[in-house]
Amino acid sequence: MIPTSYYLALSVILFAIGVAGVLLRRNAIILFMAIELMLNSANLVFVAYSRQFGALDGQILVFFVMTVAAAEVAVGLALIVTIFRSKASIDVDDISMLKG
């Protein structure tokens, strides 16, 4: 049986990497992927605690997170495509003006 804290440590590392992706990368798509990574590390914590407490609620929450992630990706990627069409770039630093 792997202790819960091992999973927590792993998800902390994954989360930190996700944060690094958001803060350091400029490619909007990779930034997006980093966000997904963070969501995933959170999911891992949910499932680990779900096992620790023997309750399924954590898994349900993961299910909802996945749904939200799917919705988020659909809209987010649509936005990126739209931005790319007008700017020919997906560098987030290029999208610093309110004017399109």
């Binding site: 440590a9 690094a20 990574l37 399924l56 299910f63």
Partner: protein, 183 residues
């Protein structure tokens, strides 16, 4: 109670793969590789779910993340031809060092909390009970206790669908293309 050796080995190997894949996602300059590294990471996380007694979530992880979300990413990257981003001038000088300092701080605080918590496995009792994490158990919980969030989620998905269609709709596309011939 410490885990037995084979289990620990499996866990450590998988964890190393997960972290390596995540780092690969972070570091690779090609967005396609980033996406593929992330897929590997998700696959490993799905395996963790299996180990944690959540086969349904594991399968959903593979289907939703690996099968749908990441394919969408790949699709967009290829569609835009944006796998290699041109580097433009960089004027956020203090962003990088400050970020690294903050990430290190976050890591240290989190580790302090997580490792200070001690080693616990939780109750084997519930987990070993038949049906824990099975689709029917999840379904029962989902359609009884969490019915309202579930329905709300369905509306969210519908909204996302409409949003995506509207954002990239055909009419808009044509006008944009006519306006800028850059594509």
């Amino acid at each position: 109670m410490l885990p037995n050796i084979p289990e620990l080995v499996i866990f450590l190997v998988l964890a190393v793969i997960a972290v390596a894949a995540a780092l690969g996602m972070l570091a690779s300059s090609n967005a396609i590789y980033s996406a593929l590294f992330l897929v590997v990471n998700f696959g490993v996380v799905a395996t963790f779910y299996l180990l944690l007694g959540a086969p349904f979530i594991a399968m959903a992880q593979v289907t939703v993340y690996a099968g749908a979300i990441m394919v969408l990413f790949l699709f967009v990257i290829m569609l835009l031809g944006a796998e290699k981003m041109k580097q433009t001038s960089h004027n956020l000088l203090w962003q990088k060092p400050l970020s690294i300092v903050l990430i290190v701080l976050l890591l240290s605080i989190s580790f302090y909390v997580v490792l200070g918590q001690g080693v616990s496995v939780g109750s084997d009792l519930m987990q070993n009970a038949s049906g824990y994490g099975s689709p029917s158990a999840i379904g029962t919980l989902l359609f009884q206790k969490y019915l309202f969030p579930f329905e709300a989620t369905s509306i969210l998905l519908l909204a996302a669908m409409v949003g995506a269609v509207v954002l990239t709709g055909v009419r808009r596309q044509r006008r944009r293309i006519r306006k800028s011939r850059r594509l």
